[in-house]
Amino acid sequence: MTAGSSNSRLRVNPIACKAHGVCIELLPELIGSDPWGYPVVSGHLVPNRLMDHAKRAVEACPTIALLLEEVPQTPTSGRS
């Protein structure tokens, strides 16, 4: 794990997402936009300094499409 990172990452439920763009406004450090206004998240761990902002973006999504998911500490391998 990178120093200064949480163990969580952002994920978008693409079925629920309707491109309101609130998360892009609130967290431009971690969320970009595609050509149609849908959010693009990196999949990297969220830095600790941005965790509060990330939680705020998750709560602000009108369609509950933005998720903050914990990543297992030790990478599991060999299992589907």
Binding site: N13, I15, K18, D34, P35
Partner: protein, 450 residues
Amino acid sequence: MNQPEAAGREGDTARLYAAQSAGSGQTAESGRLFSGPADLAGHVGAHGPLPGHDGPAILDAVDRSGLTGRGGAAFPTGRKMRAVVDATARVRRSARQQGAVVVANGCEGEPASAKDRTLLTRAPHLVLDGIAAAARAIGANRAHLCLHEDEHALIQVVQLALKERRSAGIDAVDVQIAALPHRYVASEETSLIQFLDGGPAMPRFTPPRPFERGVAGRPTLVDNVETLAHVGLIARHGPAWFRASGMANAPGTALVTVGGAVTHPGVYEISLGITGAELLELAGGAAEPLQAVLTGGYFGAWLPESRFLATRIAPKDLAAAGAAMGAGIFVALPRTSCALAETARVARYMAEQSAGQCGPCINGLPALAGALEALARRGDTRAPDYINSLAPYVAGRGACHHPDGTTRLIASALSVFAADVRTHLGRGPCAGTRRPSILPLPALAAEAHR
């Protein structure tokens, strides 16, 4: 398990079914999956009854056989079964008592594929044996066989086979037929689950994956019908017999559909690991000079002819060559066709087949298809850069892999046919753009997709 019988490469590699376009209706005399008649008595006469091994013994045999899924993902079948068993052990007791579920996927969504239909028509009892064996392996008490609702003849064949089995009383778990809409993404595994739970046949957001929470919230094994037919044989003859055909890292036989400019298009059972040259030979050879072969269907990739001829037909070998095994689909493209126009037509079809749920798929696929059409038909100079800049915003951004597969096919066309791209940009559309389509597309595509 029975003694392994000699199953050499030659014996297992056989022509099974001639596609309608060939018109000859020839069928094979050998091969593993099609060696018995379609009725129950004939089937049992040819293969023997399904032995009464317990679940762990079947699971062990499937594991050691090295069988991988024949629906396109080539995931180890034994591991998938174990994942369901493990998930069942993890759920709370009340749910565990309900048991797991088997879903057999017989919805052949790929327009260029005919293998599942052919298998179900010729050997329905082998598929149903596989469902019975898989149910035992994972402790399932519920099983569904998914078919396309518009394939009436096929549904009838399977209904008749189920009737025979019910009167013979041979199955512990009754198999229910589910009739799904004939659309590309309707047969994605989470679409099947959602449909069987009474919802629309559209992909859902994962996780949970079906193995942990599938039909009615129960751990569910979703397998292609051909995969299950192999399970039906492995339960009889054991892993060593299965491995006597194919290669160490790609054991067994597989059904493939060979189409396009070959003398005898159709469905064949091949020993995994034969070369592309041997595959074309099996289909009577090229009907005219070829330029490339589409591998893996409309989720796949192009390979130049020379590269294809030398590549082994097996998932890992094809992937290493930049191609794909997919559901065993191979379409030979003649030199007089325009590969860009062919790919553009497929891209448009795939865009229309989107479930329309995810923004990047709804917007991205039509944009990519439009750009490829502009390149193929008008030599639009902006198209290649536009496609390259857009592709990363489309691939990997849907709930299912529909946008990924189409993006990959388009990228493969631009790279394999880079010389054609330059010709189109410099001199406009080539003569091949006026040739009738080689890659098959369902006529109903445009109206039926929504």
